[in-house]
């Protein structure tokens, strides 16, 4: 009489919501180059690491303040196929992949509330301006 070998659990399957490659995995953290060179070379130099951390902190704060300042401002989104839409900026999600907007002006009408999705890894150009003083010439993405 034979016994089935015991299995601790089944292999984990794909995440239906994402493509994986967890940035918090040990391998990712160890192998992924950061944009600031100090991180990859001089971990032993605590002064440089401290400076880098302060710089990162300042950049994060500046970014968050920019997002706050954009709230309720008129924004122009430059999208694929040279489509440009205007809306009132509400908020961004934590990954800056989705934007909550109001009064979205589209070629087929005005959407009171909308969620705009920015495709992963693609840059989405936004122009922020005063509603009373819109730009005359729109920048292109060439």
């Amino acid at each position: 009489m034979s016994t089935l070998v015991t299995v601790l659990r089944l292999p984990r399957g794909p995440d239906p919501n994402g493509r994986g490659f967890d940035p918090n995995s040990t391998r990712f953290v160890a192998l992924c180059p950061t944009t600031i060179s100090a991180s990859t070379e001089t971990w032993t130099d605590s002064v440089e690491v401290g400076e880098e951390q302060r710089a990162r902190s300042a950049l994060r704060e500046s970014f968050l303040r920019t997002l706050i300042a954009m709230t309720n401002k008129q924004v122009q989104f430059h999208m694929y196929e040279r489509v440009e839409v205007e809306a009132k900026f509400g908020a961004s999600d934590i990954d800056v992949l989705n934007f909550q907007v109001s009064e979205l002006q589209t070629p087929i009408g005005v959407q009171k509330e909308a969620l705009l999705r920015a495709k992963h890894r693609k840059m989405l150009l936004m122009t922020v301006y005063d509603a009373d003083d819109p730009p005359i010439e729109l920048p292109t993405d060439d």
Partner: protein
């Protein structure tokens, strides 16, 4: 069948419990392991659903999916360190990926379906082959440069592999030949001709062994001289075979959905396992030889233990009563 050829020392028959890796939605047509890295070893699978996946090699746990191809992915490979991946697809491109972030790094346009991709040991060059019958060598440090081309095959190339310390190339094509090329002169050094199309090819650098399958046959050749070492016939048409790193076993799978395990020395069929619900398209031993992975028409990958009953990865040796587990290594 004697289940105890590989030690367990306990006298209880253990039945193989394959681990099924789900996620693909179409047939899995190719798979490859990385080398052993500080983070373990990894497995990449090529699938007709166009979404190759990276998995942890010893558990089958999904790590990520490489998104970008617009057609079936026919070939996939990892470099030794599992930092880069390459894929070959029906969208007429080969792509190079960062295997840590999952980002696409390079797209190499071809003029027809690409079937095979292979890195050199130092990951500096990529070999591609496909339906346009041309072998190409891309310098990954100069990706905009035109690739070196090797012509000669008269039908679609199934597989192209670096060999002999990346100084030579082995290729198998639908023209029923396997050819050995010199990388610098791009000329044929030696050629093997068969009565039918070669279904798969595996190159083992340690010992310079070439494993070729065609029809029901698994054939072993010296990779440098292309002299035949031996052939073994299986009960069914075989699509893929793999030789264990210690060269004591080999496994094969094909049309009858089963995985077969043979003794390489005696050619004896040792075990066979049912499990897949479709033909087996690819099978490979892990770099440590502790398991082998199979990919099937049924859209799944399965991991099988080499020594059934041993504690490894997600498999646990559990025995009733007061007996303790006395598994030893080969």
């Amino acid at each position: 069948l004697d289940f105890h050829r590989s030690p367990p020392k306990v006298s209880m028959a253990m039945r193989q419990t394959p681990l099924t890796c789900s996620g693909h939605t179409r047939p899995v047509v190719d798979l490859a392991f990385s080398g052993i890295t500080p983070y373990g070893y990894f497995l990449i699978s090529a699938c007709k659903d166009g979404k190759p996946m990276l998995r942890q090699g010893d558990t089958g746990d999904w790590i990520g999916t490489f998104l970008g191809h617009k057609g079936a992915v026919w070939g996939a490979t990892l470099n030794n360190e599992a930092t880069k991946a390459a894929t070959a697809a029906a969208d007429f491109t080969a792509k190079v990926w960062d295997a840590v972030t999952g980002d696409e790094v390079l797209t190499l346009a071809h003029k027809h379906i690409v079937k095979s991709v292979n890195f050199t040991q130092d990951s500096s060059c990529l070999l591609t082959g496909g339906n346009d019958k041309i072998i190409r060598i891309y310098d990954l440090n100069k990706p905009e440069a035109e690739p070196q081309e090797i012509t000669g095959h008269t039908s679609a190339i199934k597989k192209a592999l670096w060999c002999n310390n990346d100084t030579q190339i082995l290729s198998a094509a639908d023209d029923k030949t396997v050819r050995l090329w010199d990388r610098n002169s791009t000329e044929v050094v030696k050629q093997l001709s068969f009565d039918m199309s070669v279904s798969s090819m595996e190159y083992i650098p340690d010992g310079e062994v070439l494993v070729i399958t065609y029809g029901k046959t698994i054939a072993f050749y010296n990779a440098l001289s292309l002299d035949m070492i031996k052939t073994v016939d299986a009960p069914a048409s075989i699509h893929s075979a793999s030789l264990h790193p210690d060269k004591d076993f080999f496994v094969a799978g094909g049309d009858d959905f089963k995985l077969y395990k043979f003794d390489y020395g005696t050619k004896e069929e040792l075990e066979s396992y049912k499990g897949h619900f479709g033909p087996v398209h690819c099978v490979r031993f892990s770099p440590d030889g502790e398991l082998y992975a199979s990919g099937s028409e049924d859209g799944t990958l399965r991991l099988w233990q080499t020594a059934v009953g041993k504690t490894y990865g997600l498999w646990k040796c559990v025995l009733p009563g007061e007996f303790s587990c006395l598994m030893t290594n080969n």
